[in-house]
Amino acid sequence: MIKRMNKLVPIFFLFISFADFETKQNQFIARQGQITFFSYTSVENIEAKNNQVLSILDINKQEIAISMLMRAFVFKKDLMYEHFNESYIESDLYPKASFEGKIIGFKTSTKGIQTRIIRGNLTIHGITKEIDIKSTIENVGGNYIILGEFDVFVNDFQIKIPPILSSNIAKMISIQFKFQYQPYEE
């Protein structure tokens, strides 16, 4: 019996390590994802970029999670950064924005580019909204690049803009994103 156990134990461990190996292969990470948002009005155009967006992609579960620091958005002007963080987004209270969603109809077998809808919950300024995002997913030699753009309404996230500045900031903000994933290794 003990002899048999001795044979079984290594096999058992082999299975565990194999299972572990498999889950890691399904996960991809992007530490330096890029998100840019634009506000176009006749008075001024505002653009801000964040190059340190974190995202984890699970190709088996078809799930994607994104998290970013609001203070890591870089603006052209100091005052824009100040207003954004202190008045509109209130970064002290809500330092992060996040998204969690599912890629509908995502196929791991597809090589090259596939266009899919990502449906999930977007949280900005402590307010969560369900949105659909049309995205392009590219498989490059086993790694993935996901990019796309969508619009959000400032009102939906209870971001208050004083009447005096309302002509400077668009009601609808367009957001562009680009994530280049690598296999996730601890």
Partner: protein
Amino acid sequence: MTKKKIFLFIFISFLFIFGVYCYFKISKETVINIKSASISYNLYTDDLIADFRDNEKSANEKFAGKIVKIKGKVKEVSFLNNTNTVILLGDESSGIICDFNQKQTKEIKALTKNQTVIIKGIYKGFLKDVVLLNCLLMNDKTNE
């Protein structure tokens, strides 16, 4: 020339100067002089990450917007999306992402893996890694 007219003239010129001042203040582009900025915290990579492991919220409050000087080992250098980034080695799952201004490209390209560096930057927060922006490489030649 009455007193009233003089007063009006002074008032209008004051208004004009104030307007010009406001215009320049508003349209001023972001120039952060990290080189001369004073350092709030002087740390090692392990200390900074340990602070976050203990209590993310209090660490965030402590470091938010502060200028930190950090000593650590280079894990990776990346030029993705036209950024200059040095990732410092942390523990098994976290590191420190340091984003540089374009000026030090040459020095950053010369960095090798596991080289010890001192970096000064503005602390922005913690996701999976600590994020520092507007970074500056303090010693580009020292090898330990």
